[in-house]
Amino acid sequence: MDLAFFGVQLLNGLQYGLLLFLIASGLTLIFGIMGIINLAHGAMYMIGAYLVYDLTMRFGNFWLAILVAIPIAIALGLVIERLFLDTLYKRDHLYQVLLTFGLILVLNEAQRIIWGGDVHRVPVPAPFDASIQLTDNLQYSVYRLFVMGVCLVLAGVIYGVIRHTRLGIIIRAGAMNRDMVEGLGINVRTLFTLIFSVGVALTAFAGMIAAPLTSIAPGMGDSILITCFVVVVIGGIGSIKGAFWGAIIIGMATTFGAVLIPSLASMVIYLIMAAVLLVKPRGLFA
């Protein structure tokens, strides 16, 4: 592999990693602040993708579809949180796992009922449907660059909120000691609902912008879920910085692993996770 192609693979890894970060950030917040293991997180990604597919077909415009889909996703998050998660805060992790596992089944099948079992594609939206020439025979989709840009901007926004706003302080405090925060008079209930909705929105949004890049197929949430769990565990539960670097590491490992060690490629991320847990059981940035 020469330098040019190494650079392109670097770009590929970065793009994949940034998208992972968007999904993982929601997961780590929910994990860290609310203490909830949400297995249905991947299903949210899938719902985002299907919503944007459906609405793009309806409106004929990708951007309009996203605009409409985001509130729908937030609303869904609110409903799930109020209906089901309410009872789980004080309960064992086991029940959270089970309930959210049941949710996956319901959501996956609901998707099948509404949109069927076929595989779909969303066309790459204008004005990003061009490609730029990277090497003599390889082009790179401008849309992918756009996605990377969006993820970076959002990463910056999230980081800014966490580090430099009052809300951010409350979030960080809540991750460290929920009871204390409650004792200080902050309405933890509302905080949780907010966090969950934001987490769901981020994930669904990731699904939306990723839609033109992947196949929209049943069960697409399941594979991304496991990868995101690995990202969060590597980065440290509750840490946005950890989610970011964890996602980049996993993105690079997957991309380079696929071409350098194809026989081990799919196991690479788990090996990395095992290694991290052996050395730093709480994750890299806990």
Binding site: V97, F101, V106, I226, L277, R282
Partner: protein
């Protein structure tokens, strides 16, 4: 925890066992030519019951929630599939010890790495290891990849030339699984009431306290982990014999999730609960599959309802039925109503 349950539980379980054991007698009368198919289903339920029971040791007794238990299930299936010679049956005399040996080794290695973690991290690492093996098998040449491995002949159980039990015969295999399940149950029952079991209870209650009392808690947890893994592998071996097939999906996290569902449907921590849970799960699955092609929604809703409304599962209903609970508030309760709760003490959130 005494793990002793009211007499009615024992009676009900004995009746159910008798019902299952005598299926060959009444099966055809009730199911007609579907009887063979039902026998297959019943055998599968027995195998899954063993699988679920093994997980209960970890989740219910020790309090370690594993989302990767399918690793051992699939391991048993693949050990059988890969060790079986292509064109002749293996012998159970070496196959069973092989499965036990392999799963014990893997259990030990994985356990050493995984026992160090607690709570959410334990869930994550077990999930990760399960997935690791899943991908390893899926992408490997020798293990047939995503399509799995065939087992053309079930292992034989013979002494010299005389066949003790013909495992190719569905009825004999059914009884073989039933006996294995009962053996597993009795073993776990004895284990949980032994000194070892009481230490496990203590660890579940409060690990720090046990450590302060001088117990090497990691060692106990590891042994429990290995035992659970070995039992699950035996179940996997039986499953492979039933299907004639080992497949990576048996290792995946969906399978791990399904067996957890059986636990909650049945009743965690009771050992006999998961048996009921496995049966309940399979029966529900059968009913739902025939009701609609969109049966996963029904199953998902069932689990959600079970978590919210019936967290102690079917066993919980048997142990403390709703009509009995009211009487518990009176001071002079009849001794048999003073039931021990099947619900494990809620895990402390301090991870």
């Amino acid at each position: 925890m005494l793990h002793r349950y009211p007499k009615r539980v024992a009676y009900l379980m004995l009746v159910l066992t008798a019902l299952v054991a005598t299926f060959p007698l009444w099966g055809e009368a009730v199911f007609g030519n579907q009887a063979n198919f039902m026998l297959e289903k019943l055998t599968l339920m027995l195998i899954l019951a063993l699988f679920a029971m093994s997980l209960d040791l970890l989740v219910g007794i020790v309090g370690l929630v594993s989302l990767g238990h399918a690793l051992f299930f699939g391991l048993g299936a693949y050990t059988l599939a890969l060790a079986s010679p292509d064109f002749s049956p293996a012998s159970m005399w070496w196959m069973l010890p092989l499965v036990i040996g392999v799963s014990a080794c893997v259990g030990l290695i994985v356990g050493l790495l995984v026992i160090r973690t607690k709570g959410i991290f334990f869930i994550m690492t077990t999930l990760a290891f399960g997935q690791m093996l899943y991908y390893f098998i899926s992408t490997s040449q020798f293990a047939g990849g995503t399509d799995g491995v065939f087992i053309m002949f079930r292992p034989s159980l013979a002494v010299g030339d005389t066949l003790l039990v013909d495992l190719d015969d569905p009825y004999s295999f059914f009884y073989f699984c039933l006996v294995t399940l009962l053996a597993g149950y009795l073993f776990l029952r004895w284990l949980t009431r032994s000194y070892f079991g009481q230490v496990l209870d203590g660890i579940h209650d409060n690990e720090h306290r046990m450590q302060a009392l001088g117990y090497a808690t990691s060692g106990y947890k590891l042994i429990a982990f290995v035992i659970a893994g070995v039992m699950a592998s035996i179940a996997g071996m039986l499953a492979a014999m039933q299907y004639g097939f080992a497949n990576p999906a048996q290792l995946g996290w969906h399978t791990s999730g399904e067996v957890l569902m059986m636990l909650i449907l049945g009743g965690i921590g009771t050992i006999f609960g998961p048996i009921l849970g496995a049966f309940a799960y399979e029966i529900l699955l059968f009913v739902y599959e025939h009701a609609t092609t969109h049966w996963p929604i029904l199953m998902g809703l069932t689990i959600i309802v079970a978590v919210l409304v019936l967290p102690r599962g079917v066993a919980g209903l048997m142990i403390a039925p709703p009509w009995a609970r009211k009487r518990r508030t009176t001071a002079n309760d009849a001794p048999e109503k003073a039931t021990v709760s099947a619900q494990p003490v809620t895990q402390s959130k301090v991870d």
